[in-house]
Amino acid sequence: EPEVTQTPSHQVTQMGQEVILRCVPISNHLYFYWYRQILGQKVEFLVSFYNNEISEKSEIFDDQFSVERPDGSNFTLKIRSTKLEDSAMYFCASTEEGAVNTEAFFGQGTRLTVV
């Protein structure tokens, strides 16, 4: 069964450092998403991406965040200068063409710890 894969599964970084979280969406999917879940809190939408551009982003997704699809298979989330409060589980998801009436498939997540 096709699946969304994320690497790394765990990342520890020092405050102020840049991190790149990587995702490989399902190959025929066209819509890509990043979500995060701070420990003990709900899963929050960060950004959606379609046709090589951001289609929607949340208030959380400020200038320190960026997304990229560098090579047609990977979908990355970059945090330029990490803060302690960026510590969370980050989930990538993808959907087929047509963002409604379709199911989002999630990766296993990357646990980011900022120290």
Binding site: V4, Y35, K42, V43, T95, V100, N101, F106, G107
Partner: protein, 114 residues
């Protein structure tokens, strides 16, 4: 602002007991509704979904949910739980004029004791 509310944060029950988890959303337009499950150490998996049609939907592992439009609710049920149903359960909504953005409830941690 649109929101998704789950009524219980933690539920503890014994095997063979019935489970019902409440979910309400606040949005007056057309929505797609989902329940996701997250087993310990695993990724979010879809249990079931509602797009249109029969408001009673059946999902995997014996779960079902009922969409009641007048109550803005999408409650999840299972008649008889097993120990393996121990997990966190998330209700989620897509507003159909968004870009497929899922809005999640806070989640309900369900613990099933043998």
């Amino acid at each position: 602002a649109q929101s998704v509310s789950q009524h219980n944060h933690h539920v503890i029950l014994s095997e063979a007991a019935s489970l019902e988890l409440g979910c309400n959303y606040s949005y007056g337009g057309t929505v797609n509704l989902f329940w996701y499950v997250q087993y310990p150490g695993q990724h979010l998996q879809l249990l079931l979904k509602y797009f249109s049609g029969d408001p009673l939907v059946k999902g995997i592992k014996g779960f079902e949910a009922e969409f009641i439009k007048s109550k803005f609710s999408f409650n999840l049920r299972k008649p008889s739980v097993q120990w393996s149903d121990t997990a966190e359960y998330f209700c989620a909504v897509i507003i159909t004029d968004s870009w497929g953005k899922l809005q999640f409830g806070a989640g309900t941690q369900v613990v099933v004791t043998p």
